[in-house]
Symmetry: C2
Subunit: 330 residues, 2 copies
Amino acid sequence: MSATIKDIARICKVSEGTVDRALNARPGISKKTKEYILNVAKELNYTPNHLARGLAKGRSMTLGVILFDVRNPYFAQLMNAIEVKARELGYVVFPIFTHSDTQNERKALEHFKTRQVDGIIMFSVQSGHEFEKELLDLKIPIVTIGNRISGGWTYVGINERESMKDAVKHVVSQGYEEIIYICPPLTRRGEVNLYTLEERLAGCREGLSEMGKKEPLVIMDSDYIKAISQIDLESQPKKAVVCPADIYALEVLNHYKKNKIRVPEQIGLMGFDDIDTLKYISPRLCSVRYPVSEIGITAVNRLLEEINGNHNKHLNVLLLQHQIVTGESL
Amino acid sequence: MSATIKDIARICKVSEGTVDRALNARPGISKKTKEYILNVAKELNYTPNHLARGLAKGRSMTLGVILFDVRNPYFAQLMNAIEVKARELGYVVFPIFTHSDTQNERKALEHFKTRQVDGIIMFSVQSGHEFEKELLDLKIPIVTIGNRISGGWTYVGINERESMKDAVKHVVSQGYEEIIYICPPLTRRGEVNLYTLEERLAGCREGLSEMGKKEPLVIMDSDYIKAISQIDLESQPKKAVVCPADIYALEVLNHYKKNKIRVPEQIGLMGFDDIDTLKYISPRLCSVRYPVSEIGITAVNRLLEEINGNHNKHLNVLLLQHQIVTGESL
DNA sequence: CTGAAAGCGCTAACAA
DNA sequence: TTGTTAGCGCTTTCAG
């Protein structure tokens, strides 16, 4: 196989310890022997064995990443940012895509434990006491993104409630009086993490209330297209559909286009996430933008701080700024 | 830290070898002691250490994956399929996104070597003899996807030339006489892999020639939008823009929309890849569809065969079927 | 059926 | 400055 430290030691007629000192720039070695060893190592085309190193040091230099589905552009952006940042810092990532299945998430954590990852970045589906106990038992630093779990773990994201509140206020400021809020269920199995969903809905309610408008019509049906098609668009006052994700908004928009319903003339539409795809679609969707890549990068940085034990324990909620993106759909 | 085989052995008053036999369902152990050991292991919440196992067995049970950019939906789909399939088979993946930078690709391969991955799935930017030599030196099974390298490595993909030929023939069959083919350069650094690009262009030429049409107008400018805006759309005969990727076609379409040029009335448009995003865009783009996820799955299966040495050495080009997707843009 | 021991490649503590 | 040695946790071979 590949050359090992032992091989180099034998050839150079020095001890393995000395080779280690040369290869890893450790102190206590003469320049001469160091250069000699390095030369031989290069000739042998030596590459260190990370498995062995990890075993010896108790550090695998790998991070586990749990996301729903990388085919969703939002997760793809996160994935990209995390992978690039982690590698920049000498780590390599194991991604696992759960497709928001709680069983997959459980197995993923198990996987990471046996794989000896040094830390985990997780967008979780699960929640609840039992789940938190499992996480604690892992004894691995974890940073959560997207879905918050509890104060026990660092959370990197945006202020979900405020951002939706701002979105709704923007809609109202454009003259819309009635809000239809789309909020389909994520999945049915297990105890599911509803943090983001609930916060955004609460933000919607609060926003309307603060603007003195009436309660939103909340559509919780998974077939929300059918539900909205039953709404009377002719009656006053002006109505707008608000979605907690652009992908829902795009489905709604497709439905309206198919039925020759004009947006925003007959109904307003507001999305959330400001995904890249929007630039190809007209009318340009109003949405809420936030620095997705920054979330990934911040999560990696924080996770490494936690791994190295030099993090601020009193500050474990890291919120980034959101902003309203105006478009042609309101 | 976590419980180890040694701990279990001590508690059960047996040897480590016996514990190993129980834990890994190896033969030569009585049912009684096995059950006992398994119970103790469960109580201690034992989880195996994959680093140690990998080191001992010379198998890390990890695969390296090299892709351009997961934010591109095409790569995201590949990534998803590969990760899911690999995990199903007990492997875990290290993805590295090169952003089509040859330096990154080099470093990625280096990374994988030191990380002791058992195999690599690669969508390469590089090509050439020197590169091939590097790959050989790795002494790790490699399956290539997307960009073919040479007969030395398994390739999983579609027949690039035939698929573009079919695409062009379809365009011609819709009454278009003149083809504008978009073919922007990928990157400038290093010796770049142009396999796919060249094959598709060749397919375009062959298709036109076989249909008795004149040569395509090939736009090699990276600012292809500027280039197409100089084309006279009023003159006969009917013209169509053919793109070797939907993302180019979407940019072109955006340009036409902005300038109130009607597709397909004033000019036809053909894409390639049939990405998911298309379902949100009108007019529905004509494109070429092929089973992207299948490519990922096939690559994983083949790679494992190569790792285990039970692959068919005479068959190392695995081509999947493509199909023309008709839309409203022709 | 079970135990003992060597070894995977690297690190780290202690001697020399 | 260099060598020696004992691990890290698991697998594997050879005895018993």
